[in-house]
Symmetry: C2
Subunit: 392 residues, 2 copies
Amino acid sequence: MLNFDFHSPTRLIFGRDTERQIGSLLKPHAKRVLLHYGGGSIKRIGLYDAVVSSLKEFGIDFIELGGVVPNPRLSLVHDGIALCRRENVDLILTVGGGSVIDSGKAIAMGVYYDGDVWDIFGRRLKIDRALPVAAILTIPAAGSESSDSCVITNEELHLKYGYGSQLLRPLLSVMNPEIFFSLPGNQLANGVADMMSHIFERYFTNTPNTDLTDSLCEGALRTIMKNAPILTREPENYDAWAEVCFSGTVAHNNLLGLGRVQDWACHGMEHELSAIYDVAHGAGLAVLTPFWMEYVYRENINMFVQFAVNVMGVAGSLRDQEGIVREGISRLREFYGKMGLPATLGELGIDDKNIELMAKKATGTAFGEERPIGHFKKLSWQDVLEIYKLSL
Amino acid sequence: MLNFDFHSPTRLIFGRDTERQIGSLLKPHAKRVLLHYGGGSIKRIGLYDAVVSSLKEFGIDFIELGGVVPNPRLSLVHDGIALCRRENVDLILTVGGGSVIDSGKAIAMGVYYDGDVWDIFGRRLKIDRALPVAAILTIPAAGSESSDSCVITNEELHLKYGYGSQLLRPLLSVMNPEIFFSLPGNQLANGVADMMSHIFERYFTNTPNTDLTDSLCEGALRTIMKNAPILTREPENYDAWAEVCFSGTVAHNNLLGLGRVQDWACHGMEHELSAIYDVAHGAGLAVLTPFWMEYVYRENINMFVQFAVNVMGVAGSLRDQEGIVREGISRLREFYGKMGLPATLGELGIDDKNIELMAKKATGTAFGEERPIGHFKKLSWQDVLEIYKLSL
């Protein structure tokens, strides 16, 4: 186990009707908030009214900025920063999924930065201040409600960059599984693929002696894979949503990745897809992950045997390691298929036109850097290209 | 899954040499600290010098209060409160195991309370202020380094009471597994029994649909039970200590108990033992837990089948539920035995003289209240007496 320094101070308020507490929860922390959200769905399901009514009840002023889209855009972040400065906002209340929370986080750190907030992403500048962010989650997926990171798309440059800082951990996050009842099936599926990937990126490691976090990762993955299929049949099953949502939150606050070298190659490869093609992040991950597994498992086959047995439930002789691992990966593909997720880039409408460019962008080669991605196996741009080709 | 509100803001600094960071870690939070510890062991292993040197390097003043004993006493807490007030201490740095941290927490809340701090324990008063507490852990066991609670013994009244408040969560906790290398075997064993009990108290529940926390509990228990026996043979095995210690911390910050009704009968019964007999908390728990299991498992046998299969690795036909459960409990007893823990109260030098009194104290009956303990099965004083009798 490696040394670690872990600080996850986000307060999690979980369960039925919890969104109605938002006014009292924010009262000690804010006088004037930016209410940040996406499209009309929060109004359709009555969430907007519940939030506004609770804010008013506790005398919290608010101004609004809607319009966040999936793969949230820099231009709206710029608008939000200007608005927060002009209106003296002291907290950003995000009501939405990962895109909305990420957009709110980018605004929160941009408010205190004199230049273009994109510099912070592009040049990995260290921030020392940010507005507090609170979240009411509407899509369990990205884990941004508990993570220290955000991902923003620069739509002019076709770049999608992530950034992390302790200052971006939300002050508090409210999760009511009932809010997810009306989510379309593809958002469930994409969300599940995203949260599973957050665990896979931490799980697959060459660091020895990581028993506790191994078992926490495996438990969370099994929990998701047991409960998510229930939701394809019963979209209003509270308990199944609760398990999926709670798992997605735990998946990304980094408890499950402590003391181990993490991978993150699949996220790197997927960001290039969605920067150019605007595909759903989870769908891209569902395609790439099994191909990545097939490409890398021989680096440390015991890790993948453990995955196949402890997560995918493959039983039988452990002497045929290759067979065990292939069966494990095959079962993961079956699971994604059952959730309605795509298995190839072709199904996402992506052909080989940009794959060399994407491989070179993912590894920095396109910008004159040589920055292999991944740690379980370090991937050069040629490796990444190979995985894209296999995924076509 | 039940609604929950979880806030675990303690920063965890884990790994080799981390105790040397204490000065820089505390610098932003404190000018003058109370250095609180137990006996001479922290001086013998050089930890005291390392801590003092780091505090001096960062210009942090300190005064000292040693002498904490297992089942930490109210009288020393009183001394600490007076000292902190007189010396204008702004943070309590505890260097020790659970007893030292608990003693520090009691001082931290007593400083701001006008009456006797024991009132807070006895009358369950709500506190609204406490000094911050930091910890350098020397015995992985009690989980106080991440919990919101503390337990203090009123040695005059032979009462041992716990108290919990968010304000008692440590600001930060430093854990270096190398510090545990010189621990005597019985402290390892007692610590392991204590941390396993913290998980059992949360795990055994009648709340349905708790998949994620079930699996987190099971993973932590398996991790402890795999690694602790290694330490009986190799007391300087860093990685085994790291797994045990990290598990003990996760065991008690309450992540593993979220969304489920918890039990806590074994802790209640054990507190009566150690209030009168001053036995080690872990040893008392190791005796009582299997007898408690045998007394209660028929309330919800499926929960215990799950325990036997998922934690204790019992395999075979699941149709013989009683047989599966008995084998699981028997394996737990074997594990405790392998760790050198006692199996009966007799081995702790406890006979039947006080068991009726203890049963009545545990359930409030001795004080004219009728307060059954436990939730998996509610235990009256007669039930508790029966379990004590079985344990003799």
